[in-house]
Amino acid sequence: MTEHSLWRFSRALHRAINERHYADLSGLIDDDVDWTVYGPIDMFPFLGARRGKAAVLEVIRQIAENVRIHRFDRESVMLAEDSAASMMRYSLTALDSNKPVSLRLAHFAKFRAGRLTSIRVLIDTFDLVEQTLGRAIHLPKMVAV
């Protein structure tokens, strides 16, 4: 049974971020990849949208310069034929400040011929900002989604 593309991509991505080894990852990304991590790009410039392999490898270099992955738990994973989705919990360290950050994210990925063609990543960004600031943001009670 062939290993799902998600597992190869996931291993290569984590190796790229923690070891700054990009060769394996480069071979698993489509030249015209469509990449978006939703979040406040004014605060975290490595979030946002990128198009094409070169731009995606560059943003992964930026992520590798900013954080190190200590641990991740895949809380839920769905593997379809050429797509996959996971809900994950990450324990990270911001490299410059040595500040620990814990975040939950969801990713929705599509693959073609074993290569990533599209990925969307969602993060509970309010929690991320509060953790980074090290304090709660006080705002009025809101309406529910």
Binding site: Y38, G39, P40, D42, M43, F44, N66, E75, S76, V77, M78, L79, A80, S83, A84, A85, S86, M87, A94, D96, S97, K99, R104, A106, F108, R120, L122, I123, D124, T125, F126, D127, L128, V129, E130, T132, L133, G134, A136, I137, L139, K141, M142, V143, A144, V145
Partner: protein, 151 residues
Amino acid sequence: MTEDLNRQSLLKFLDAFYAGDAETATACCDEAIDSITYAPIELFPHLGHKHGNGWVTEAIRTQQQRYSSRKYDLKFMAVDGDKIATMQFLSLRKHDDDRVVHLESAEFFTFRAGLILMHRSFFDSFDFVQQLLGRDLTDSFAASVRDTLRR
């Protein structure tokens, strides 16, 4: 076969939820449904951890009180046995000022006997808070966040 039934059940649930048909939406859920929306509950007191299918009617009612129209567009669906992941683009028109707010929502469902047993959800909550407030918060916090990351 099971995957097709679960997919149909989920689509029926989403259509009913956003049409405001609480009875049909509730019928797609197990009585013991466990739902968590990961969001700052001090800001969104109606979100967080909910248990039991009464949550569905309550959630629809709460949204209808806040929004005059609610639409969803399914952007991604992955089905794997008794689990389904979706990414939805939501458009909500606020009652108080008629502004439309948008968000992408990640939703993970686990089924039992064709009914939704578990639901997990979250979204780009910082952006959504900004939209609801109608003002940009990044100016207030961007410099602090960047300084903290560098400190």
